[in-house]
Amino acid sequence: MGEVFGDEGSKGWKTHLKVYTPLFGIYKRLLTHGRTVHPQTEPEPSQKGIVIMKKYVLFITLIALTALSLVGCVRAPFVPPQGLAFSQIKAPLDINFDDTQLAGMNRGTAEVMNVLGLFTFGDASAKTAAENGRISTIVHADYEHFNILGLFQKTTVIVYGK
């Protein structure tokens, strides 16, 4: 029994070797073909421009993706859903409405800007907003957020008071 099995086993291996060796050969040829550089596969002068263009597109896409990944969101006690492509929202900053009377109140604004998600600058403090609106007592505050593709963002603080 053992010999019979052994014979069948050895025959099986031989058959496998006969079938797979040429396949390995083809695989090996494919691999080596990939490594060698033939003069015919080099791009023609007319195609070189396309190759360079593709590289630039890839580079610009990479920068745009980096900028988008760095796009931060405005943080506030109440934030409605914001659009990554475009946003222009206005929402309450002060969410305590005790003694909040808006009739006949002055309005002052101050803003901060963000460019490419990389640089943020400006002054959106309550003090500056109050000074801009000639306000000495603030009774309420809102904010406004504007965004185009994450390339340019503007956050404005709006204060109301006397």
Binding site: F121, G122, S125
Partner: protein
């Protein structure tokens, strides 16, 4: 091309791995990845909050050693309301703002500005 990609990735890694630089306040505008210098309200509950010209400020600073994966970063100083009011030589605060400066996630400075409340009539 490979060098540019590598530089971008390193820059991103530097920014991401340099710890939590941004201030955690109730209101903050979108921070800049490379540079930030902005002022925003710290107090957002305005029930007849006074804004006077008398102000005091106090600040904390932060430094991160680049490419140390956020392991070697240092923060020091005092930006408490009490210290800011003491620096302004008053004891009743009307409202407060904060100022934030961040350069490449390596150096950051957070300043709290407080404004004196008008005396009760």
């Amino acid at each position: 091309m490979k060098q540019t990609t590598l530089a971008l990735l390193l820059g991103l890694g530097l920014m991401v791995l340099c710890g939590c630089v941004g201030p955690r306040s109730e209101f903050s505008p979108p921070p800049g990845g490379l540079f930030s210098s902005y002022k925003a309200p710290l107090l957002i509950d305005y029930d007849k909050a006074n804004v006077s010209r008398e102000s005091g400020n106090a600040s904390t600073e932060y430094f991160c050693m680049p490419f140390t994966y956020g392991l070697l970063n240092f923060a020091w100083d005092d930006c408490s309301l009490n210290t800011a009011a003491e620096n302004g030589r008053f004891n009743k605060v009307g409202t407060a703002d904060y100022e934030f400066l961040n350069i490449l996630g390596i150096y950051a400075k957070t300043t709290v500005h407080v404004y004196q409340a008008q005396p009760d009539k």
